[in-house]
Amino acid sequence: MDLRFSPEEIAFRDEVRHFFATQIPAAIRNKTIEGRKFEKSDIVTAHKIMYARGWATPNWPKEWGGTGWTPIQQYIFMEELQQSGSPQPLQFNVQMCGPVLIQFASEAQKKRFLPRMASLDDWWCQGFSEPGAGSDLASLKTTAKRDGDTYVVNGQKTWTTLGQYADWIFCLVRTDLAAKKQEGISFLLIDMKTPGITVRPIQTIDGGREVNEVFFDDVRVPVENLVGQENKGWDYAKFLLGNERVGIARVGVSKERIRRIRQLAALERDGDRPIIENPRFAEKLAAVEVELKALEMTQLRVVAAERNRGTGKPDPASSVLKIKGSEIQQATTELLMDIMGPYSIPMADDDMDGSNELPIAPDYAGGIAPAYFNWRKISIYGGTNEIQRNIIAKAVLGL
């Protein structure tokens, strides 16, 4: 056992760190640090810079544009990326749909979809959840009825993140109404420009517009867009959800937030004293840091174990990463609220005089309450934290 990174790994980390510091525009990375939202163009710009370097799809096999990095290197890359404030390569493409296609799709489908997925020439979104099918995803009702060489899709998806930008949506649809619920589901790729698709934005409590409802009304989808076998979609979905879960730990994101907290807690004062010198605050921060260090080590254990398990198969213990990772990210937003106190109350965008300057509070105060509100989602999406506990209880503990 040697828990330190090897000299090669350290050299790799420095190379990656230098890349993000010099290649991804600071104007984009600073949005993360200052708590502002990315525009579509920020995500595309960062993705394409990584793509040009061959780094947009590190988790894919080399033949499809992967890097051939070890799991540890992939971990280092992601952690450096997150700490730099850069947007990630679009997860729907890289972490979710891409690996499913690589594992389960036909050669023709891979050739058709993967290159544009890797380069983000196509923006993908995830059409899994429905109004009646959240935690119980397998109860989904959107149907795809075979009609010659097309499927006719009817139904509704919801919570579709960034669906407003998407060129394609990967969907779970019901193709066998008679089968047991997990057994009648298929994994279908649908062009968002197909007639019969309507997207309605849903505003989240932070005021953002990142999720949507997507309605399907007699949408005709060529049979060639079916991934793998008909009625086997649930297997592919489980594979995808496992990957999604691991991706939510976001150790690098929380590290960046901790540094930001230190910075703002040194700037903001309570009387004469910077907040960081308030022992109660300093201890709360230290406690979150302990949790984060433990999470980092736990994640590294999971990553290192991947060598023996074979890549692409998530560890059932990845639910630990999802639970703790989401809780820690949420805790960082609470610490920032503690720092800003009453100055987190004004809303930045809704000034009635149309001025961009935040009333009374420093500029950086504007994003802090919205981030606290918005990040409540992290314990909900990707399988709620209750569902993760059910997974641990059943799959890990055998209860």
């Binding site: 119980d136 109860s139 409590i205 009453p342 809303m347 009635m352 005089d353 509100f373 409540r376 709620t384």
Partner: protein, 381 residues
């Protein structure tokens, strides 16, 4: 000891509950929030007709002579509906200054307008550097002949965008955080030299930033002692906190009830999600937190007009801590147990969660009051 409401108090509660049920549905609230002032002038007139705006004022001043319990009842119902009208700012805080510190002339001049619904007030205290310290006042009031001239800046003045008068704290002597040398002034919103910038708050209420540039105030608009207003300010703020605690109980009660309804109707895996024991325990914990908070809101109400300032401060801080903790737990759990739906602007729990979060940041957050209480030697005598 008697925790029961009197017949009149129960009637007040029932009337208000009915009014809010009729006038504060989700769509109506959304419309009020989007209107120019962000709240309903019509409903404000109804509050006046029902006497709600007269409740805490003495009968001699044109009021009804209600006490902290009546204020608690009203605030809880306003909280339950997430009402947007500036009741706290106008009646509790503004009215509090007049009741506890106002001269006969000041009362006669302002209370009738408050009671009739024509006048709204706002408390201008927060400054860029002051955080939660009521004595941290950099805005100055300088003597000018018979009157005063105010210079400085105030922010997060809740209800300030539409208020007709402000109660402004300003330093008349001493250094920035001295406990003496602070005055409280009535300032007409139309005064020359006073500019205001209204804005929306994170929870959809309205506030303002005020800039005072040589604003002249006559001697008759000083409330009480021009150099010794801090005890008055603390007293009014403590009452304000007690009222906020009651409002928070309304918000929490609504979130908890809405969550329970949802747990009984939402089905996943062929069962209502409320049938899962993991969820049941969470709802039960929310209930425990709510009942603890309700008790402390009552304690705060009982102590809000205690003549011993130290005892009052201990009680108020203890209550604010409990409300802050319970509110955070209930708000976060309400969102979590709803899944995605409570993350949206289209559902009342999300709005309640935001309101609760902002209540925790008003007049001192949980940590602030924990430290204050520890400094006062705790709450168990």
């Amino acid at each position: 000891m008697d925790f029961d409401l009197s017949d009149e108090q129960r009637q007040l509660k029932d009337n208000l509950e009915r009014l809010m049920a009729a006038e504060y549905g989700f769509d109506k609230r959304t419309a009020y929030a989007a209107s120019p002032h962000g709240w309903s002038r019509e409903l404000w007139a109804t509050y006046a007709e029902l006497g709600l705006l007269a409740v805490p004022f003495a009968e001699a001043d044109g009021g009804i002579g209600g006490g902290p319990t009546e204020t608690m009842i009203i605030m809880e119902q306003l909280g339950h509906a997430m009402a947007l009208e500036p009741y706290l700012a106008t009646v509790v805080l503004g009215g509090g200054f007049l009741r506890h510190g106002g001269s006969v002339e000041q009362k006669a001049r302002l209370i009738p307008g408050i009671v009739s619904g024509e006048t709204t007030l706002a408390f201008a205290q927060q400054e860029k550097q002051s955080r939660y310290d009521l004595a941290d006042v950099a805005t100055t009031a300088r003597r000018d002949g018979n009157g005063w001239v105010i210079d400085g800046e105030k922010g997060v003045v809740i209800g300030g965008d539409a208020a007709d008068h402000f109660i402004v704290t300003a330093r008349t002597a001493g250094a920035r955080r001295d406990h003496t040398g602070i005055g409280a002034f009535i300032v007409d919103a139309k005064s020359t030299g006073l500019s205001r910038r209204g804005y929306v708050t994170q929870d959809g209420q309205r506030a303002a930033q005020l800039t005072f540039a040589g604003v002249k105030v006559p001697a008759s608009d000083v409330i009480g002692d021009s150099a010794g207003a801090l005890p008055l300010i603390e007293r009014v703020v403590d009452e304000g906190i007690a009222a906020l605690c009651a409002e928070a109980i309304g918000v929490m009660t609504m979130m908890h009830a809405t969550t329970l309804d949802y747990l009984k109707t939402r089905k996943q895996f062929g069962l209502t999600i409320g049938s899962f024991q993991a969820v049941q325990h969470r709802a039960a914990d929310m209930f425990v937190a709510l009942e603890q908070a309700r008790s402390m809101a009552m304690f705060a109400t009982m102590m809000a007009d205690d003549s011993d300032a130290r005892e009052r401060a201990r009680a108020i801080s203890a209550a604010k801590v409990q409300i802050g903790r319970s509110g955070r737990q209930i708000g976060q759990e309400a969102v979590q147990l709803h899944g995605g739906i409570a993350m949206t602007m289209e559902y009342n729990v999300g709005h309640a969660f935001k309101r609760m979060t902002m209540i925790d940041r008003m007049f001192g957050d949980t940590d602030h009051h924990l430290a204050r209480l520890a400094g006062l030697g705790g709450v168990i005598g």
